[in-house]
């Protein structure tokens, strides 16, 4: 396997990213291992090569990890910071630790798996279109505003590290008008966004959940998919695609054009032209 290792100890993020791009684009390296990450930002940003893998073995990668990324796989053996997968277009990210705030902001496609907890405003404004369905699986807990403004995609919170804190913070799914959120919990989270309703999982939900959880456990070996799937899940889906329809002045409706020549009258063609 043609792979290289970069020691990022005192490497400015520009050189680090330049090295990664050179390796991946010019020399066709398929695996980049980074040691001693010291908060370098934008690792993996804008890379499009599908079969490339970036491993951050030690240290902590900086903000906007895999932003605008469109294909590669990023693995972090440790914690990650804010902005992971920001506006990510495709690819996968695995974080063997916790992650910060604003993860998967405006994410368009691809999958992000976080073993530990995540911070605030995670999964904001994720959108889906046809087969581009972004998904995020959080092993631990999520802070406030999880899934705010979601217009598509799948958000999963498992709360496996059973400390006492609520599994999902307040204002979860506020303004959500698309996509679905699964939460592994017995009791109903408080301060849910008023735009969503709670449902039981149907067959297709279980299907979707199963594939994500399996991929999650495949990476994070210490969890078993079967026993996670055994526990009770709830599903949050939006009430309407148009949460703010009534807020703004309705103006008049959209009158469809009439069939005939004059908007409100059928002309008698036979009388006129025959």
């Amino acid at each position: 396997m043609n792979s290289i290792t970069i020691d990022a100890l005192n490497l400015y993020y520009r050189e680090l990213n330049f090295k990664i791009k050179e390796a991946v684009r010019k020399e066709g390296i398929k695996k980049v291992i980074i040691k001693n990450a010291r908060g370098q930002r934008f690792i993996g940003t804008g890379l499009k090569e599908k079969d490339v893998e970036i491993i951050i073995e030690s240290g902590v990668p900086g903000n906007d990890l895999a932003m605008f990324m469109d294909g590669p796989t990023v693995k972090v053996f440790g914690n990650a910071q804010d902005g992971v997968g920001n506006t990510m277009n495709n690819g996968k990210v695995f974080i063997h630790g916790d992650a910060g705030d604003v993860i998967c902001y405006g994410m368009r496609n691809g999958k992000i798996f976080i073993k530990g907890n995540v911070g605030y405003r995670v999964g904001i404004h994720m959108k889906e279109y046809k087969d581009m369905i972004p998904s995020i699986v959080v092993g631990g807990k999520a802070g406030d505003f999880f899934g705010e403004y979601m217009a598509g995609g799948i958000g999963v919170v498992l709360g496996l590290n059973n400390d006492d804190k609520p599994i999902v913070g307040r204002y979860c799914a506020t303004g959500m008008h698309g996509g679905v959120i699964y939460i592994r919990t017995e009791k109903i989270p408080t301060y849910l966004g008023k735009e969503v309703k709670i449902f039981e999982l149907n067959e297709s939900d279980k299907e979707k959940l199963k594939s994500l959880i399996e991929e999650f456990c495949q990476e994070f070996k210490e969890y078993k998919a079967e026993d996670i799937l055994k526990s009770r899940f709830i599903k949050l889906i939006p009430v309407s695609k148009r949460p703010y329809g009534r807020l703004y002045s309705p103006g008049n409706h959209f009158p469809l054009p009439e069939e005939n020549y004059f908007s409100n009258k059928k002309i008698d063609i036979e009388k006129k032209y025959y």
Binding site: R38, Q81, G119, Y120, G143, T190
Partner: protein, 301 residues
């Protein structure tokens, strides 16, 4: 800190009138290319003596007297700024990168229980020596990341109690607020943090514990003007340790890292790695959840 000698002379005259100056010396600095035009830096060890507290000033407590005089210098002596006015407490700040400022003030020669450092990105006012962080008053120091959209009313609130905001930066008002609430109003730090980042009304409404509900409701009614709005995360240094606090919807990052018996408060976890080799525990505080780090021998609550 003096912008010119005239300010130095005037201030020294003033100090002699109102205090007994035990020792006065220039703060040792080292000229380095990165730091260009630097103002003059002097420090004075002073003592309050009754006969110098004349007229209405004599009624003030020791701290109030110092505050009053510090405010006077900042406001009335042109070109003179009090960088710090606390006991066993020093603030080193200026226009330049933190690593250069530390070289300039040769910080390697100092030892301290707690250090706070800050790198300001000037927004509302241009960068100038007086405008850098931290902002201090007596034994309090504030380093602040973010911007206070409530600055307009916070400023006019503290000015009701005799403070004067002169440094053209919103962080300054936090220092005065902490001094006002802790020292003058005698409020415990937890309450001060609850004033700065109170829970929202819909959360308060749903609280089962009536006493707690009453507590938060009163705080918000009485200290509405002291609410700090806008994205912020700051560290308050005081003679008992450090306090970290973020705004009530956590728009600025704050992370607590423990390594051995040292505790770090930082915006990014990765930057802690730069200064310590092993991380034992990482904790992400909730929105508006204060983080108290006390020295082992601190008695207060």
């Amino acid at each position: 800190m003096y912008e010119h000698n005239k300010a130095k002379e005037e201030t020294e005259l003033f100090l002699n009138n109102y205090f007994r100056v035990i020792k006065a010396e220039e703060i040792p600095t080292k000229q380095i290319p990165e730091i260009k035009s630097s103002p003059l830096h002097y420090r004075y060890f002073i003592e309050i003596v009754d006969n110098k507290k004349t007229g209405s000033l004599s009624l003030l407590t020791e701290e109030d007297y110092v505050v009053n005089r510090v405010v006077y210098i900042n406001k009335n002596i042109e070109g003179a700024f009090v960088v710090s006015s606390g006991k066993n407490f020093g603030a080193f700040k200026g226009v330049g990168f933190p690593e250069d400022i530390s070289k300039f003030f040769m910080l390697e020669n100092y030892k301290a229980y707690a250090w706070t450092a800050h790198n300001r990105f000037p927004t509302n006012t241009p960068g100038w020596w007086g405008g850098a962080h931290p902002f201090t008053l007596l034994d309090f120091s504030i380093v602040h990341n973010g911007e206070l959209s409530s600055y307009g009313i916070n400023k006019r609130y503290v000015e009701m109690f005799g403070y004067e905001c002169t440094m053209l930066t919103d962080t300054e008002v936090v220092a005065y607020l902490v001094d006002l609430l802790v020292r003058k109003h005698g409020l415990p730090f937890k309450t001060v943090c609850d004033i700065f980042s109170p829970p929202t009304w819909d959360v308060i409404q749903n609280m089962e514990d009536i006493k707690l509900k009453e507590y938060y409701k009163t705080l918000r009614i009485v200290y509405g003007s002291a609410l700090l709005n806008g994205p912020f995360a700051f560290i308050i240094g005081f003679n008992g340790g450090l306090i970290g606090l973020s705004d009530r919807i956590k728009l600025r990052p704050l992370v607590v890292v423990e390594s051995g018996n040292t505790v770090y408060l930082s915006s990014e976890e990765s930057s802690v790695l730069e200064v310590c080799d092993k991380i034992d525990r990482v904790y992400h505080p909730e929105a508006g959840e204060p983080v108290f780090i006390f020295y082992n021998d601190y008695k207060g609550e």
